[in-house]
Amino acid sequence: MLEVKGVWKTFNAGTVNEKTALRGVDLTLNDGDFVTVIGGNGAGKSTLLNAVAGVWPVDQGTITIDGTDVTKLSEHKRAKYIGRVFQDPMMGTAASMQIDENLALAARRGKGRGLRAGIAAAERRSYRELLATLDLGLEERLTSKVGLLSGGQRQALTLLMATLQKPKLLLLDEHTAALDPKTAAKVLETTEKIVSADRLTTLMITHNMRDAIAHGNRLVMMYDGRVVIDVSGEEKRKLTVEELLAKFSQVSGSDEADDKLLLG
């Protein structure tokens, strides 16, 4: 479904702040894969997601989604294939617009936007039902401005928006990192529910090794701009935090894989 081949990305090339964030990343996701991505700060996790989403062009390599080479496509054109939830709860929604208006925007992802009504009456009814599944009481607040919602509510809403038009690929960029533990657990639970219901091909970055092991059918670890560990199936199911740490030390050739670095 997703094929990342030899992707390189250097920021601020030629300056003192030069930073090569991706050093030839290769990663292939099969249809229905739910891949969790872990790695320390600066390992290139978010850079990889942004490269796939097309936030900026990559220096080298190709990105293919469901057989379409999207390497040269701009961010808004790629949005046709991709649903995204950001780390910052403020980033995924339009604060000054209503809940139903945000959903209506998401419902038109990948479609032309003309002079038809921005939101139809029938849509509102379906959004009410959809919001009820979140169990956050948002179905009663359809016309509230999104800016009035809590971080957790906004992430849950963003998740709905990202999957309203079933995406070929769902990108979750540490989408629970900014939430308190209880809310984070709830949003993760919702994520699991939505991903498994639609069998969405998903790439989820997390700082939390336990979450990375508990969720998905495959786990990828990044280090210094490369994918260094890739486990799936039975091996992934039996994986423990200790084993993962040991693997990491082995690959990175150092013992900096302490809890501080990886558990955030």
Partner: protein
């Protein structure tokens, strides 16, 4: 001061407020909806009038001249939009560039720095000489109807898919792109629409005052901001609906011109001082929210309001 003279000046002040209100709606589109401070308007506020007058003097009917003026505004917005999105120049600088370029364009269009038009010789839509007529050609009526039409059309447009994507771009451009919105396109479209409104206002103003002048738009952006702010401060809590918000901008503009008339009538200040006063008032109102956040931020309030 003479209260009768002051009362006599009111219809004129309100007419001007209505005309500038359309310009202020243009400023509202960029400043409030698109979240861009567009300085093109200072140039466009002359361009529309210049184009209208020259087209009228060339024998075109008023409706056609008005349409041409509107199109000239669209093009001015397009220029700023291209500077900003295609050339990557910051929005505020893009506006300044177009504004400067328009100074030359306006002189070219008019052939001189001031171009009068005589309402007796041409069939104009509004003129200050009719401001006390109890007839359909009273500018209060003509511009009032125009304002209502503009608000109705914009209300409809911003409710469409395209209009919603424009609002989303201003609210959160990263989110807009993630939802497949071409934010470069919507930004250019918003700038065009805004300057189209400004040019429309300019065309009406040129007719009303009987001339277009190369400096008639100087400080227009600040007057527009003043109108937006006055409307928001006075009516922001009452007017929640989008159409009413646009109306509050026009009311803000009318209040600005009524106060302007009062200040000048009272002889406390001359008309020459008004730009200084306006700038200081706008600066004050822009500073208040910042000061509020900085010095009166109540800790803990956010957590209470945002329990998940």
């Amino acid at each position: 001061m003479n209260p009768v003279a002051l009362l006599n000046a009111m219809p004129g002040a309100i007419s001007q407020g209505l005309i500038w209100g359309i310009m202020a709606i243009g400023v509202y589109i960029t400043y409030k909806i698109l979240d861009v401070a567009d300085l093109t308007v200072d140039g466009t506020m002359c361009l529309g009038g210049a184009v209208f007058i020259m087209a009228t003097m060339a024998g075109m009917p008023a409706a056609v001249a008005l349409l041409l003026a509107f199109v000239s505004g669209l093009l001015a917005g397009l220029a700023t939009g291209v500077f900003h999105t295609v050339c990557g120049i910051p929005a505020i600088l893009s506006g300044i560039l177009t504004q400067l370029a328009l100074y030359s364009v306006n002189l070219r269009v008019m052939g001189k720095s001031n171009q009068p038009i005589n309402a007796s010789n041409y069939d104009l839509m509004v003129s200050s000489r009719n401001v006390k007529n109890l007839a359909l050609n009273n500018p209060l009526f003509v511009v009032g109807v125009t304002v209502i039409l503009v608000i109705v059309i914009l209300y409809w447009f911003f409710g469409t898919e395209l209009g919603s994507s424009l609002r989303a771009t201003g609210s959160n451009s990263a989110m807009a792109r993630a939802q497949g919105i071409n934010t470069n396109f919507t930004t250019v479209l918003g700038l065009m629409l805004s300057n189209g409104m400004v040019a429309l206002s300019s065309a009406l103003l040129a007719q009303y005052q009987g001339f277009a002048d190369v400096s008639m738009g100087r400080g227009a952006i600040v007057i527009g901001l003043a109108a937006v702010i006055i409307g928001e401060v006075l009516l922001g809590r009452v007017f929640r609906n989008f159409a009413l918000k646009l109306l509050s901008v026009v009311i803000g503009s009318i209040i600005y011109y009524v106060v302007y008339q009062l200040v000048i009538g009272s002889k406390l200040l001359s008309g020459d001082d008004m730009k200084l006063v306006t700038a200081l008032i706008v600066a004050l109102f822009l500073a208040v929210p910042y000061w509020k956040g900085k010095y009166f931020n109540k800790p803990g309030k956010k957590e209470v309001a945002r329990n998940a």
